[in-house]
């Protein structure tokens, strides 16, 4: 379960100070699928980075599954992140020098999963995303949809409790986008919590709840039934 209280994030340069998040209070329950929407620059991605333990808030509290993480160091956050959060990006962010199989295997290497177990789980994830036949290809040899399915396989291979998706269909055509959203929906149905940033109302329709941000604040929350 995720909870933020009065979350603030300021970005300062020598000349200007920008408030990216301004008092975000948010609860995400286990197994929930939340979409975050809002215009460009409203703080969606900043919020996602903080929720994903990639960044610290300037102020406020953030309770991640019972642990207060707002003041953690980079090293502590990295330890906590490992295995408990999966990420899906708009630009896929696969490592070009690694094959599909090796990209998906990566989180398990850092978790020091034994080789047999690793092989089993990577193959499961690849089967699940219907990308097994491309296991020895490099990212540049895949279509956008295949790349994103690989990225989702990598996000789920360690069986995280939470998946964070940052505009996962942004670089895909509608057919591939639809497929990706269905996969995320299926993962959510199996109990994985998903928080997704999106511009697309259609994609947001897959979520249980839509949080609308504007100028770093939550302006509305809509629940789907």
């Amino acid at each position: 379960m995720i909870q933020t209280i009065n979350l603030q994030k300021l970005f300062s340069t020598e000349e200007v100070e920008t408030t990216a998040l301004n008092g975000i209070n948010m609860d995400v329950k286990d197994g929930e699928f939340v979409a975050i929407m809002g215009p460009s620059g409203c703080g969606k991605s900043t919020l996602l980075n903080i929720l994903g333990l990639l960044d610290n808030p300037s102020e406020g509290e953030y309770n991640f599954y019972g642990t207060e993480v707002a003041k953690m160091t980079e090293r502590q956050r990295a330890q906590l992140r490992k295995g408990s959060i999966g990420f899906v990006f708009q630009s896929f962010n696969l490592i070009d020098e690694l094959t599909v199989y090796e990209n998906v295997e990566l989180p398990l290497l850092y978790l020091k999963t034994p080789p047999d177990e690793r092989k089993k789980r990577v193959e499961e994830a690849l089967e699940r995303m219907s990308i097994m036949h491309r296991r020895n290809h490099f990212p540049q040899q895949l279509s956008g949809g295949q790349q994103q399915r690989t990225a989702i396989a990598r996000a789920v291979v360690a069986k995280p409790k939470l998946i964070l998706a940052d505009e996962p269909t942004g670089n895909l055509d509608s057919k591939n986008g639809e497929e990706v959203m269905k996969l995320l929906g299926e993962l959510n149905d199996e109990g994985t919590t998903i928080i997704m940033v999106t511009h697309s109302p259609y994609d947001a329709g897959f979520a249980h709840r839509i949080v609308n941000l504007f100028d770093g604040k939550v302006v509305t929350e809509n629940f789907h039934v």
């Binding site: 991605s45 980075n49 994903g52 990639l54 960044d55 980079e74 090293r75 990295a78 330890q79 992140r81 490992k82 295995g83 990420f87 990006f89 708009q90 630009s91 962010n93 696969l94 490592i95 070009d96 020098e97 690694l98 090796e102 295997e105 990566l106 989180p107 290497l109 850092y110 978790l111 990598r154 360690a158 940052d166 670089n171």
Partner: protein, 795 residues
């Protein structure tokens, strides 16, 4: 995990072939220089350490107070050995040897010249050298026996045992082979192929304390220190040497220091060849650093390409430490690849290197220390070159990298770059690299200039067109020397000929025995001296300021002397010709005053010199050939030598070769600095080339926009080259004082030198800038010529 690192490393290497090959090739060049120098340094440091119980063997020198300073004699008088044996209980054994003779050895039809020494009987008490056959100790004790090395034994007795067989030396005496020694390794200060008992060689003058011509070695008793033994030796001169020499103090030098620490100043060892070992070691490190800098520069320059990977790895759970491990493993792998190439390069150039540096270095792959060194080199290079990129890349923050794609990613990573400022670090590295390169270029120019100065300096005597042959066998017989010389002078291609005890460009003998009426009894003198024959000044073209040369038809000349201006000054004589002096041969007169000429290397100032007339006591015939007629003169000499001395093979040398050999170390340094200066520039330029390629790629869009707005190709080339040239200029400014200081220090070792001029730095600077500009301009022109439409579309 490591397999994953290796995989990534190889795929990254293959992906950026240009940068990878520059990295690997540059590192390999740097490593091969270091390996070569490492082999050389190891060999230099190993001198004489092969000797059994080497730590207790010491070389004896003698310190004398001389006009407020202390002069150290490298050679010692004959009686010193007996005095030490008798009077110094700390010494277990003591021996003396002469400087070495080349004798003609003969067994049946086999004849060859071999170098060896006459050594006092306890030689093997000091040097416990391994014997192949026989007992060298008892063999050397017998005046009719000879000890030879395995090499000589195999040459003269190819069919069996040498011990007990007879050898003839110089077509004269016969010796029975008493023992055969194992060949001496090349890293031995002593190099000989035979030893004969001292008593066979000894003459009356060798028993005097005033004549320093021999080398003395001692072996100390166990648990005896050098200092303790020197104290015990302190009263030898006062007790045994007589009033004239009572101030002499023997000092000891460990034999393991003999090769590298042979220079003495004011009574103390002040270095020697060790300076070159140090310089070369520093050069080795420089070369490695320059190559490592390329790696660091290219790795950080390419960080934008690796940034995404870092971000992804961090997001999926990599800790910073594991990323540092990954990038260090990559640099180790590159370094490993480079070392393989470096070993190939070393193997290829080793024969040339050995020929240049007169070594027999080998790349013995069965030797564990070599593998240790290679392993160390891989780790050191990998760590040196990989540590900064590893620290930098692992510090990149995923949120700044992973947002967006294409231009967004580039924008994000460029902001990361400026935030962490590796660009500044890169510039500093280029400056450092070029500072070292400019330093080496200045070294190349300055050393080359000094070498040229030495080669062309007027020494005050002729060394061109002078041939010399050793006087041996029949023509060494006192009665025949002069007849032979006269016959030689009758040849039309020969202008003049003389005889001399040593070569006039390298006079080694000194004496403290010079006296004259009115000499201050407290004044101690140390003059160079030499026995010469008739026509010495004429043959060597030494200017006579006053008086005349020795004349063979003047019997009184056997106790007359020629002196140089420095000797006249020492004796306080304004017009020395006709004045009385006393030297070894007896009381006589100065008959000629020679203008000062260089009698040693240009490291030393011109010392007072006295020449004695004795055509019998000489070692060489020096022949001045007429200009352009050297081949005829040599043919004539050979004909005469065969006629006068039929049992000896004819050998001849040119005097300027002997002169050049005085500067062998300097020539080697010169060659080394030339090679390495060139390589340093090459490696630096490889790095600069890649960096320029990278910068041009990064600025493609900017170049496109500028061209669209009207910039010409020259503008763009100027824009791209300017930044690099600025760095080279800064390097020039930084390296100038350092180069000035260190080269001035080096030049100070020469009493006669070409001082450093500003133009050397100017030339080095212009060269460095020109080379850097050429390197960068290829990439700049390529970028500037690109169609802007293309470059903008690529964005």
């Amino acid at each position: 995990m490591f397999r994953n690192y290796v995989k990534i490393a190889f795929r990254s290497l293959m992906k950026n072939k240009l940068f990878s090959s520059i990295n690997v090739f540059g590192l390999a060049l740097g490593m091969s220089c270091s390996l070569l120098i490492g082999l050389w340094v190891k060999d230099e440091l190993s001198y004489d350490r092969f000797l059994p119980d080497a730590e207790s063997i010491h070389y004896v020198r003698v310190n004398f107070p001389y006009n407020g300073e202390t002069v150290t004699n490298t050679v010692t008088p004959g009686p010193l050995q007996e005095a030490i044996a008798k009077d110094v209980p700390e010494v277990a054994a003591v021996t003396k040897i002469n400087f070495g003779n080349e004798v003609l050895m003969k067994v049946g039809e086999i004849t060859a010249k071999e170098k060896g020494h006459y050594a006092s009987a306890d030689f093997f008490g000091v040097f416990d050298l391994p014997a192949v056959y026989g007992n060298p100790k008892t063999a050397l004790a017998q005046p009719n026996q000879i000890v030879i090395t395995r090499k000589v034994a195999e040459k003269f007795f190819p069919n069996g045992l040498a011990v007990g067989k007879t050898l003839q030396l110089d077509n004269n005496k016969f010796y029975v082979v008493g023992a055969v020694l194992e060949n001496l390794p090349t890293n031995s200060s002593l190099q000989f192929d035979w030893l004969v008992n001292w008593k066979v060689y000894e003459e009356g003058w060798m028993k005097t304390w005033g004549n320093n011509s021999f080398q003395t070695f001692v072996r100390l008793k166990p648990r005896t220190t050098l200092a303790q033994t020197e104290v015990a030796m302190a009263d030898i001169y006062p007790r045994f040497a007589g009033k004239n020499f009572e101030t002499g103090r023997p000092v000891l030098q460990p034999i393991t220091d003999l090769h590298l620490h042979s220079d003495y100043k004011n009574g103390k060892s002040v270095g020697g060849r060790i300076e070159y070992v140090r310089i070369f070691s520093i050069v080795a490190l420089f070369m490695l650093l320059i190559a490592c800098i390329n790696f660091m520069n290219l790795a950080t320059a390419q960080s934008a390409m690796r940034a995404k990977e870092v971000g992804v790895r961090k997001v999926v759970g990599a800790l910073r430490s594991s990323l540092i491990g990954q990038f260090l493993s990559e640099s180790m792998i590159t370094s490993g690849l480079a070392v393989v190439l470096a070993l190939g390069l070393v193997w290829y150039v080793l024969p040339t290197f050995n020929a240049t540096f007169e070594k027999q270095l080998t790349l013995d792959l069965t030797e564990p220390t070599l593998w240790l060194a290679i392993g160390g080199l891989v780790l050191l290079t990998g760590f040196l070159s990989g540590s900064y990129p590893a620290l930098f890349l692992s510090s990149l923050q995923p949120i700044k990298i992973l947002k967006g794609s294409g231009p967004a990613l580039r924008l994000q990573t460029s902001s990361v770059r400026s935030f962490l400022s590796p660009a500044l670090f890169r510039r500093a590295l280029v400056v450092f690299q070029f500072s070292l390169s400019i330093f080496l270029i200045v070294g190349m120019l300055a050393i080359g200039r000094q070498m040229n100065y030495m080669r062309t300096k007027n020494l005050g005597l002729d060394r061109e067109n002078v041939v010399y042959i050793p006087l041996e066998g029949e023509i060494a017989q006192p009665k025949k020397v002069e007849a032979f010389r006269q016959e030689v002078m009758r040849q039309p291609a020969i202008a003049s000929a003389t005889t001399a005890m040593s070569l006039p460009v390298n006079v080694q003998s000194t004496s403290g025995d010079l006296n004259w009426p009115g000499k201050d009894p407290n004044l101690q003198t140390n003059v160079s001296c030499m026995f010469v024959g008739g026509d010495f000044t004429k043959t060597m073209n030494i200017k006579l300021v006053d008086g005349r040369d020795f004349r063979t038809d003047s019997p009184a000349d056997s106790t007359n002397y020629l002196i140089n201006e420095a000797a006249a000054k020492l004796m306080g004589m304004k017009d020395p010709v006709g004045k009385d002096v006393q030297f070894w041969p007896g009381k006589g007169k100065v008959i000629g005053l020679m203008k000062d000429f260089h009698l040693n290397s240009l490291h030393q100032t011109i010392t007072p010199l006295i020449l004695c007339f004795d055509s019998r006591n000489t070692s060489y015939l020096l022949v001045k050939t007429r200009a352009g007629q050297a081949p005829t003169a040599i043919a004539d000499l050979e004909k005469l030598a065969k006629q006068f001395n039929p049992n000896y093979p004819f050998t001849y040398h040119f005097l300027d070769e002997e002169f050049e050999s005085l500067y062998r170390s300097e020539q080697q340094v010169n060659t080394l600095v030339n090679y390495f200066g060139f390589l340093a520039i090459l490696i630096s330029c490889l790095g600069l080339f890649a960096l320029a390629a990278f910068t041009a790629e990064q600025r493609t869009k900017e170049i496109g926009v500028r061209k669209v707005l009207g910039a010409s190709v020259t503008n763009i080339v100027g824009l791209l080259s300017k930044d690099f040239l600025k760095l080279v200029m800064i390097a020039l400014i930084l390296s100038t004082p350092l180069a000035w200081w260190s080269l001035s220090k080096w030049l100070e070792t020469f009493a006669y030198r070409e001082n450093l001029s500003w133009w050397i730095f100017g030339v080095a600077g212009v060269l460095a800038v020109a080379i850097a500009f050429l390197t960068v301009s290829y990439q700049s022109i390529k970028a500037a010529m690109m169609n802007p439409v293309k470059s903008l579309r690529s964005e």
